[in-house]
Amino acid sequence: MGMREAEQERPTLALQLRDFALRQEGVLVAIMIVSVIVLSITSNNFLTTDNLLNQARLLTEVGLIALPMTYIIITGGIDLSVGSILGFSAVMLGWLWQEQGWPLEVAVVACIAIGTLSGLLNGLFIVYVKVPPIIMTLATLALYRGLAYGISQARSARGYPDWFFRFGAGDFLGLPTQIWFLIVGAIFSGILLARTPFGRGLYAIGNNVTGARFAGIPVDRYLLFIYTFAGFMSGLAAFIFTSRVSTTRADSGTGLELDVIAAVVLGGTSIMGGTGTITGTMLGLVLIQLLKNGLSLSGVKGDATIVVIGVVLIFAILANNFIQKRLQRA
């Protein structure tokens, strides 16, 4: 049988390399190597342990939320409310602890729980009321941010005890503590996506939701889970963010959805759904952080570095469209 023979012909190494180079991950790794070389030549401060560890600290919150965002975009959805969930959860953490007198440990748990519930609310409306994800999460982008402002009355909470800072400003086994959350989260999410029926189901949903339903995949349950997961991760990121910057403010996480979506899309997840990997997202995340770091090392002020994210986002999609077309022709 022809198929048998063909299968035994394993693709040659050259072919495998070409495939890899064509894939977004290959391109990303190449760009990353070039950027690292350029940055280490142009700046003495770049290739130092301190700088690299600090960059790792900075990218954790975006990275944590990028994990569920990868899932969501693979299914063809989007979540614009993650930054607001972060702000809302962070405010609640400070408010419950400082204004309501809850023990800080309990407030931390509540913060993550509130994030999770916020995501659940998104999911319920998207799945059962069939509100398009863009609109639903745009509405809750306003709602959760508004709750953050309303409840805190724009007052910041500070004065956390020392142990609290261990998570966002401390180290564990030689690395910033929070990066361990990201490492564990990324491995967990990556395996979940690549190896389990759930992950396969997400790809199926993103490529053809009708086909997925006809194959008996519990589409509604999966969608509900991923939006809830996004809320959970935003809550967790809120806790780490608060611990890192040592104050909670109602504007925490404003515009964070942009960084998250940019990392996911740069990582090769198609904005139309159906493709994408956690590895790609992590590469996208690191690359964006490198670019931001490079800009700030060359003297660009902090907030202005978001220019690069906008450019990267749009060009990543153009590149992705281009690659998809080439793959289809191949």
Binding site: M136, L138, A139, G255, L258, I306
Partner: protein
């Protein structure tokens, strides 16, 4: 083709048609919103009569102007099934350009016109990406927002602009005792409403949003219509930026926070369907005034203005829910017939 059998319909049929159309006016989103604004104002007034002061009412209208004008553009964009979340950043950039030109001694009319032109250009770029490169508007405008926001900080460092010439403050002029922005708001809304209703191009927007396939069969070019919509949006955002910027005596080179959400709320609450294909600029105007009324009312009933954004989120959610429920009911009602 002229009909071969020409029959004048019975006066009775004409009457029921008229009754029904007047009923449908009462049931329309615009009317409901207007009623809501009146009722809400009366409630706030009965709680705190100072709300009813002429000064305050004019202020509410005047402060609604830039939102309403931007919401005209947003309404068009949403009717075609797209969205633009870059307008707050754009208004920030355009305002800064305007202010910079004014302090550098350019004639005031250039300082007013330049943001409009630049607004059209930038929205043209967005339109090109959406219409011709087929990238979802949400992503293009998300990216554009960060480019504009970052670029603004890069260029100005967020510096304040002082010492603007007295002529510059368009929004503070009050011909006949009525603030200038109100004139702009009323004129642009009327123009846009007429254009949307009476120009073939305006109708094409509804056609594209309602049924792309059919519109193509009728010979309409989706790309051209989308491009036109974003260009008009640029025009409206440009005007809105002038109205917004010229109300303050100093300009901070920054992005007005959450303004895009306010404008989207005004458009959505005004009845533009999130599924595309319907919506009016009158509704958007009502939406803008409603938001401002609530905003002002909160002060008069001693509710912190910090809750405003949450209220906006709930307004969007409720409107969308009502829209979805109404459509389902309609389907069911047709089924029963």
């Amino acid at each position: 083709m002229t009909a071969t059998t020409k029959r004048i319909e019975s006066p009775a049929a004409g009457l029921t048609e008229r009754v029904r159309s007047s009923l449908s006016v009462i049931g329309s989103q615009e009317f409901i919103l207007a009623a809501l604004i009146v009722v809400l104002s009366l409630l706030i007034y009965s709680y705190n009569p100072r709300f009813g002061a002429e000064r305050n009412l004019l202020n509410i209208l005047s402060n609604s102007a830039y939102i309403a004008v931007a919401a005209i553009g947003m309404t068009l964009v949403i009717i075609t099934g797209n969205i633009d979340i870059s307008i707050a950043a754009l208004i920030g950039v355009l305002g800064t350009i305007s202010g910079q030109l004014a302090v550098h001694g350019y004639p005031v009319w250039i300082a007013w016109l330049a943001p409009v032109v630049v607004g059209i250009l930038i929205e043209g770029v967005i339109g090109y990406f959406v219409a011709f490169l087929r990238i979802p508007a949400i992503v293009v405008t998300l990216g554009m927002a960060s480019i504009l926001r970052g670029g603004l900080i890069l260029a100005t460092g967020g510096a304040w602009i002082y010492d603007l010439p007295q002529d510059f403050f368009l929004s503070q002029k009050q011909p006949l005792g009525i603030p200038m922005p109100i004139y702009f708001m009323v004129a642009l809304v009327i123009l846009a409403a007429l254009w949307m209703r009476y120009s073939p191009a305006g109708r094409a927007i509804y056609a594209i949003g309602g049924n792309k396939e059919a519109a193509r069969l009728s010979g309409l070019s989706e790309q051209r219509v989308l491009m036109m919509v974003f260009l008009i949006n640029g025009l409206m955002v440009g005007v809105a930026s002038v109205l917004y910027t010229t109300q303050f005596t100093t300009i901070q080179s920054s992005v007005p926070s959450g303004l895009e959400l306010t404008v989207i709320t005004a458009a959505v609450v005004g009845g533009v369907s999130i599924l595309g294909g319907s919506g009016t600029v009158i509704g958007a105007l009502m939406g803008a005034i409603l938001i401002r009324t609530i905003n002002s009312g909160m002060i008069f009933v001693n509710v912190s203005a910090y809750w405003l954004q949450a209220v906006q989120g709930i307004m969007i959610l409720l409107t969308v829910l009502v829209d979805i429920v109404r459509r389902r009911r309609q389907m069911a009602a047709i089924g029963r017939q």
